[in-house]
Symmetry: C4
Subunit: 342 residues, 4 copies
């Protein structure tokens, strides 16, 4: 499917909930939680966009990287590019409701697999959404990851067991969801997790466990210490706390501390293949992507998701051609320039 068509259809179908702005910078939708925006003033989401936009690629064309390879290995899977679809829930409450929750999950999980990568599915104040996500993973023979809210430990472990049954590739907890006060109102209390609790979670399963929502070196080191297999450097898309740094601001020092000891995922305003390149160059092993995947799903179902991912892959290839990276492993911090202190 053509990207312009996908975007045009998504714009119609989202009825103003998302404006599919030419620059998806968090201004149009600021404060729209529920909805597609950042919380409060929206400045955490705006900052994530601004900061990743301010990272520049060092243009180079005297080299032999004529046909770069973008594939990577993660959790023993070969992915066609270092990108996973981010866990997003609430088709009706956040995205305008064009798709049912189940159809949304299916589009994302199947579309991601179609593009030779995979999706994360999420958890929510409405527990059915998690089931919808797992069902989508089950239909794709386990090709997906289940991310669970930081509920009470027994609830998390219960949800992990369901993910095991679905044969998921991995599980995780988006611990920054601790700030979702609305979940308590829905009888689904969440909160911070102690080291002991996280250890119990990790030891409850043989699946790799991912901690999503790490924004400091201290917690990245803790994640390594307690045996997590991956972290996601993320501020929850700026939807939890109005005053956080951008993921790209904290990623370099986190990578310096834990690179090679744990898989580093990065999440925040990935809108193009160049953004994937930047996060990898800044120290990530792989990125998460949310809004473009939503547009793909709503604008074109699973095929739309796959098309959008392939579009991002082509942009990533172009970025590698114009910097001289033959493969993902060759992408490094000398290939970018920051415009802010790190």
């Amino acid at each position: 499917m053509d990207i312009k068509e996908i975007r045009s259809l998504a714009k119609d179908r989202m009825k103003g909930v998302c404006n599919l702005c030419s620059e998806c910078n968090g201004i149009y939708c600021s404060g729209q939680v529920p909805g597609m925006g950042g919380t409060g003033s929206g400045r955490a989401m705006k900052r994530s966009y601004e900061k990743i936009s301010q990272v520049k690629l060092n243009l180079k064309t005297i080299h032999e990287a004529k046909k770069p390879e973008t594939n990577i290995m993660i959790f023993n899977q070969n992915l066609s590019l270092p990108l996973i679809s981010a866990p997003v829930t609430g088709s009706e409450i956040n995205m305008g409701g064009y798709l049912s929750e189940a159809d949304y999950c299916k589009a994302v999980v199947s579309g991601s697999k179609m593009a030779d990568t995979f999706a994360m599915i999420g958890d929510s104040g409405n527990p059915q959404f998690y089931i919808d996500g797992l069902n989508a993973i089950t239909e794709e023979n386990g090709c997906g990851i289940a991310i669970i809210k930081p509920r009470e430990n027994n609830k998390i472990i219960e949800n992990i067991k369901k993910a095991e049954i679905a044969n998921a590739l991995a599980v995780g907890v988006d611990i920054d969801g601790a700030g979702l006060v609305t979940m308590a109102l829905l009888g689904q209390p969440v909160g911070p997790k102690s080291k002991a609790e996280l250890k119990e979670i990790i030891s409850s399963t043989n699946l790799p466990v991912i901690l999503k929502g790490i924004m400091t070196v201290e917690e990245a080191l803790l994640a390594v210490e307690i045996g997590a297999k991956a972290i996601v450097v993320s501020n929850h898309g700026g939807r939890i706390l109005d005053d956080t740094l951008a993921p790209i601001e904290v990623l370099p020092e986190i990578a310096k501390a834990v690179k090679g000891k744990i898989t580093i995922m990065a999440d925040g305003s990935v809108r193009s293949g160049r953004d994937i390149f930047k996060y990898i160059a800044a120290g990530a092993d792989i990125v998460l992507c949310a809004r473009p995947i939503i547009w793909g799903a709503i604008g074109g179902g699973s095929e739309g998701v796959a098309s959008y991912i392939n579009h991002l892959k082509n942009e990533l290839i172009q970025a590698m051609i114009l910097t001289g990276a033959n493969n993902i492993g060759e992408i490094n911090s000398d290939m970018i320039s920051y415009n802010f202190d790190i």
Copy 2:
């Protein structure tokens, strides 16, 4: 009362004097003195807002701060949160006149007490306003602080005596009011205070004396030297001088110099619980809050004030959950990131 309802009612009742902007950043009301804005170009108020907004919280959720406590002790009182309602006068001249001065003072003083904290009441070119404020304190059995303009010393001491009769918790002088040229026109001259004058004021009473309007390390040290019990780091909301730094810019170095030797209050663009958190992390013991209290009073009387304070407390709790502070004492400068040189 619901915050949205309070804000909506306040907006109606203030008839454009305040626009209750989604970001209360000093742009709409710039130059409106009298009114709700900063003086002149309004840039001192805008800067206060911008700078506090640029302070970021370091998101952390691997910890045990699941139920943070927000109470603090000050002047031998136990407050439910580190926030005092700021001294504001001129309901008619500055706020659109929906409430009489007396009713405004009553709403603020009673509402603050209702939320288990207390209010400061202010002084003005119209001396009756101070009396209105003291009356409100009297009605709440002395639960409040009287802030007096930097008049001639005998006038200040006279006003302190009245505060003693009202059984106020403390008194203070907003010495930055020295710039209020309009007061001289009303036959109420104000001006800077020498050390000798301030010593005389302090020795005239057994009540704790607060100096409001400190923006330099030198004057913070002077305040300690002459025996003041507290300072308020404040630029008078940007309403005195168009070209001042933001309080958050000078607070860290002031705290470095006098923390523990005197109570440090901070005042300037406190709009959310996150802002309280930031000032505390930057070295304040407690913050002052003005505009949200005004909205509470006009939108819902004393109940509105209490509701707004409780709303701020809930936001503060959320900020503590998302940074790992079990109580106010645990909040520290490692929990924030500045985006400007300090």
Copy 3:
């Protein structure tokens, strides 16, 4: 006269040539040369405004500066404040033509004297304008300074002789006028001046000679070396070259090099008494002021000019009260904070 009335009348009479914006920042009038704006994109004028606006006063009110004195001595004259009206010509071509050139000069020279300071008058492609200016000085018994364009040396010396006859206090050359290509088209060629030429000019008269348009330490030192009595740190209001630094950016290092060896005047976006304070604190001995004087002249003639100057003086007094300066000599760099590297 009331400042608001002066501004309102000036706005009517200038018919859009000047918009009397609440912030006179060079945006409305950008590129309007002839007119009131900066040349080209107007960014030199905008930058002058921005940078002086970014200088902040360090608010202090614990001191004894209750009644600051603003007078200074310059060229053996006692001025009521450290401000001289800047040389401006072209009432018709630049200001909308409400006043004749002669009437404009008269309003400025007389009004400045009325406020116990004095004015500079300027030179132009139309040589009559210089005569109009000198006539105004003659009428005020020599109370004024004549600034001459960097013409051929014999022409300059001829004009100095005329100024001597008018009994002017001093003379000067605005050497940055070297860039006025339009003057050559009018048969009045101008250009840079060599050291030898400037020495000849200085030795041609007993009057103090001022060099206007100094923006570097090198040329400030040259001015001292060749015996000039004063420099004006100025970029000609951003009306000569689109890409210059702001005067306030270069003033501190120039003051460091030549303070005390030569009188330092500063010129650029002086709109308030705070701006006077800032330039003095940054190292100037006195400032030049242009636009407010134009508004005064057009809105109220000589009385308007005097009223506007007195208004600026009152603002300067307030700034001194709020920083603790008893007199102009006490104003120093510790009383301000820069927000940019100097």
Copy 4:
């Protein structure tokens, strides 16, 4: 021809494809590729404009540079100013189609010669455009340079032979064109060039070979090593990759590394004579200029191009008068101030 008239005619004839904005800053046309803008968000082009605008000239008028000379020698040619018309193709696809490709090339090549400099002609997905360009050079007896896209080596060498027949002054490859994915779709594949390939190209001809699109010190050193005669520091006008630095940001360090060893050309947002001055001061030997040349060609044919170049020369002379440079060789980095870290 008058510049205002040329601009006015060009605006009419370009029918909105270019708005001839008073500040040509890449905002109006952002994303318009094809068209006149930067690719994607347009931020690479906007940044080029912003950064060169932030470079300031150090105003000086005490010196003897009354009649600066602007001529330079390059490739054994005496040029009237350090400016070459940049290679631009696609009159219909990018510029609105007022001129045929052949007429556009003719206007630019002849107009540049008329102003005593010369033009580069370009290559494109439509191979006829290169022929049109060469024909224009042939008509002017070889006064021009042929820039070839980074095609397969045999294609490049074939095109160089054609340039030799046209008697061109030099040839070059715009290697940053490697990112033009659209060319492959037109059956004209392009890509990065290895050192070996570039050496083969250079050794295939006796003409000087220029490498256009250098943005790093490493590749500048490589260019010297393999025997290129010139580099163009360029990001292809921000039309290849959305996230690049501005040429003026990387030029100083490149000049530090290779100045004197290879001719350094700079390209990016040259809109005025001041911009030429800035690039020379920052280390370039000569600049390329695109948009003003396009306006000249469309607004006034070859005469329009010549008039615009002479206009830029006059602005350059004024900049030299106001900084004290007698000739191009005297322009140096002490004459400018950067407002960003280099």
